[in-house]
Amino acid sequence: MNGIDRGSFLPAGGAPTPISESEQTRQLKSTLLKDIQRSAYVYRVDCGGCNGCEIEIFAAITPIFDAERFGIKVVASPRHADILLFTGAVTRAMLTPAQRAYEAAPNPKICIAYGACGCGGGIFHDLYCVWGGTDKVVPVDVYIPGCPPTPAATLYGFAVALGLLDQKLKAGHHRQGDAERALVAHPGLPLDLCVRIEREARRMVGYRDGRRIADDFLEILAAPANQPLADRVHRYLQTEDDPRLAEVIARLVDVSARPAGQEAP
């Protein structure tokens, strides 16, 4: 079978064994990164993706993002490749083809796990027809996360793979001090009212804009009452000039006027 012992790909005890890399290969790889004087060739291996990743890779190599301007070229065969790009959770049927593609690429080669499924199997990580993420079957050098990663993230990942940029990893730990208390938003207003306002706002415009609009409205509500509420709301709506916002704010005014438990129909 083309000199490859396919029996060795067979998973032992229900789990595939990742191909291991020798020390020599690792050294060769760093030499490649230092001395590469030409374009880096990428071969794409779909191990069971949904096409979302594939289509974003496509977007990354077409005119707007154009990875080729950095010398990153997608090639047709793993035998030409410097970089192997694995997408999708590795399915049963694709295990052997994926490992054969790995074997076919000349050493030294860089493996990238692409997308949430490529990185760790994603939402499919433990299913009966899936072996898991890319690193379960081949050694992985760079992970590009995302579902799917954007073309910009793809370019960044290529740059990390080629040693041009470092992977951004930041970790911070916060320990709460003795006197430290989490700040409450709108401390001047009863909590129950804030909750009702925010809930109604989210029901009207969704989680993202709902939060923003609720905050705006609660701020108006909490402001010192030099003017009646109706005037302050009116001024706010005039600056924003959005009929949908006016509708939402009218509902919030309605909710704020009612006592708890008497929700608007």
């Binding site: 229900g14 779909d46 047709a76 399915t91 049927a93 799917p148 009207m204």
Partner: protein
């Protein structure tokens, strides 16, 4: 659900069925006012489905099995028919299959469209469709052990991974060549964006005599996942990941199936926003396919230009949903984002830009002689084959059938968004490309109209009740055809059964007939014209029937030949 009998659309189908087949209908259950499930005697199944299909203007949308032994001791099979002649409604024919014999009569000899569904029922439940002409595996990989049926409730844990039984493919391709053949192995992988698949073309010289293909390399076990690990309200986000290109369509189909089952209605504004996002998704997908059509006829300038313009539709999606792909916007009972003034203005601007730029590109494409030369009369989907196999989307609309779920069955906000279903009669690749071009401009109009007509009110319905063991269909027209989902709730806030049918599933079986009689260099183009979440023509094995020789060629070589038509790989 209690519905007054007057509002039920399509009840005359059931009445006619009772008249035509006396004492065959055992039960009749209405899910919504245009969805009915009729339980028939299992032996009458083929006759009933055939009669509804050919005599009453039905199309077989999906069929699936269900392990209902916990409920009544038997398995069940469901054949979902979309009735589209005079009265448009859904009729689901259900039959119980005895848990001891596991046998039911195959419908495939009478209605060919049932072939893939019945093969899948064999794989997943071990039920035996008696008389099924094609008994090969469909979904499960070759190394899957015999006698282990993943979707049986008592068969296995969803995480169980049985040890492989073989390291080589054992799939028997239907092969007309007699005598010795030689294969040069190449993986089911290739350069262009797409899913893996294995094709075999049986050729005489340059002409394709027959074709066969092995797909499902990326079968992951999503339906089992939805039934075990995830809550029914989390499956919306799983359904977003069924397909990277039309994921939102799947999540609309899924959420509406659960909403139909539980008898709840998302608010009108949420429905309209769903329609709007669906059309945004269609924009990028159609530009993708038109771009690829340019690529496959050797017009790479057009390919790059269409992909340049396509980025605008991706920006539009990001603007509205926060994500370029995999929007994650649906919830049971509504959507997660509203459209405020800024988004509305920006959307209208992008729509205007797209209309101008794509109109210019389309003009350029149509005036390119390559397109007409390479696509006219190529890959013809015969009307008879189309009627037999129930294909969907631009594929069937390019063959003169007016099938579009947006117009046929109401869902999302399409009741307020009337439009003309675009149909062409050519049946060839050119017709399918042109149907997509027309639909692209329709989508732009629909987006504008949806913004104009956007109803007031909330975008999310809360506080509904979850009821066990209720089921219904949900559906949505994806760029490449209809997505059909069937969900049955369980008694544990999870789904008892989820069946999700992507449009390409309905289109593959007809492909074989479209390839016949064409030349090898046209095959990639024909496959791409299905828009099969992108052509799966990799690992093409060519078998020369006369020379009795078979060789496997690289996809890139095959694709190159498709574009240049020089230096045939067959020589």
């Amino acid at each position: 659900m209690t519905l007054s009998t007057e509002t039920r659309i399509g009840r005359h189908y059931v009445e006619a069925l009772r008249e035509r087949f006396p004492s065959t209908v055992l039960e009749e259950e209405w899910q919504t006012d245009d969805q009915v499930t009729v339980t028939v005697k299992v032996n009458a199944l083929p006759e009933v489905v055939e009669w509804l299909y050919y005599q009453q203007g039905g199309w077989l949308s999906v069929l699936f099995g269900n392990d209902e032994r916990q409920l009544h001791g038997n398995y069940a099979v469901y054949y979902v028919l979309s009735m589209e002649e005079t009265v448009k409604s859904w009729v689901v024919v259900r039959a119980q299959v005895d848990a001891g014999t596991l046998e039911f009569p195959s419908v495939t000899p009478r209605v060919p469209a049932a072939v893939w569904g019945e093969r899948e029922i064999r794989d997943m439940y071990g039920l035996i469709p008696v008389g099924l002409p094609d008994e090969r595996r469909l979904v499960l990989p070759d190394d899957w052990p015999d006698g282990l049926y993943p979707l049986r409730k008592d068969a296995m844990d969803y995480r169980e991974r049985p040890a492989p039984t073989t390291a080589v493919e054992t799939y028997p391709f239907v092969n007309d060549a007699r005598g010795e053949t030689r294969d040069v192995g190449l993986g089911p992988l290739h350069i262009t964006s797409d899913e893996p698949g294995h094709f075999r073309l049986f050729v005489d010289g340059e002409t394709i005599v027959d074709a066969d293909y092995r797909l499902f390399y990326v079968h992951r076990g999503m339906e089992k996942l939805a039934e075990t690990r995830m809550g029914y309200d989390e499956v919306t986000f799983l359904s977003d990941r069924v397909c990277g290109i039309c994921g939102f369509t799947h999540s609309v189909a899924y959420t509406s199936s659960v909403e139909n089952a539980l008898g709840i209605k998302a608010p009108p504004r949420a429905q309209m926003i769903r329609s709007l996002f669906l059309e945004v998704e269609r924009l990028h997908s159609h530009l993708l396919n038109i771009g690829l059509a340019s690529h496959f006829v050797g017009f790479d300038t057009g390919f790059m230009q269409f992909f340049r313009v396509r980025e605008k539709s991706m920006t539009l999606a990001e603007l509205l949903t926060g994500a370029r792909k995999t929007y994650g916007m649906n919830l049971i009972g509504g959507v997660r984002r509203d459209i405020l003034k800024d988004q509305r203005i920006a959307t209208l601007k992008v729509v205007r830009e797209l209309r101008t730029e794509v109109a210019q590109l389309v003009e350029m494409l149509i005036e390119t002689p390559n397109l007409a030369q390479r696509t006219q009369g190529i890959g013809i989907l015969d009307r008879k084959v189309a009627r037999d196999f129930s294909p969907v989307g631009p594929l069937i609309r390019g063959s003169g059938f007016k099938r579009d779920i947006r117009a046929d069955h109401h869902y999302a906000g399409y009741a307020q968004l009337p439009f003309d279903v675009k149909v062409l009669d050519g049946g060839d690749v050119q017709s399918r490309v042109l149907v997509r071009v027309k639909e692209f401009f329709d989508s732009l109009d629909l987006i504008e109209r949806a913004l104009e007509l956007m109803p007031e009110g909330p975008i999310l319905l809360e506080g509904f009740d979850y009821t066990p063991h209720r089921f219904a269909l949900g559906f949505a027209e994806a760029p490449r055809g209809e997505d059909i989902h069937w969900s049955m709730t369980g008694d544990n806030q999870k789904l008892f059964r989820w069946r999700c049918r992507a449009p390409t599933y309905a289109n593959w079986p007809a492909l074989r007939y479209m390839l016949r009689g064409n030349t090898v260099s046209d095959a990639p183009l024909i496959v791409a014209s299905l828009d099969p979440c992108y052509s799966c023509t990799d690992r093409v094995t060519l078998v020369d029937v006369k020379k009795r020789k078979s060789s496997t060629i690289a996809y890139t070589e095959f694709e190159r030949y498709g574009r240049e038509r020089k230096h045939s790989p067959l020589k």
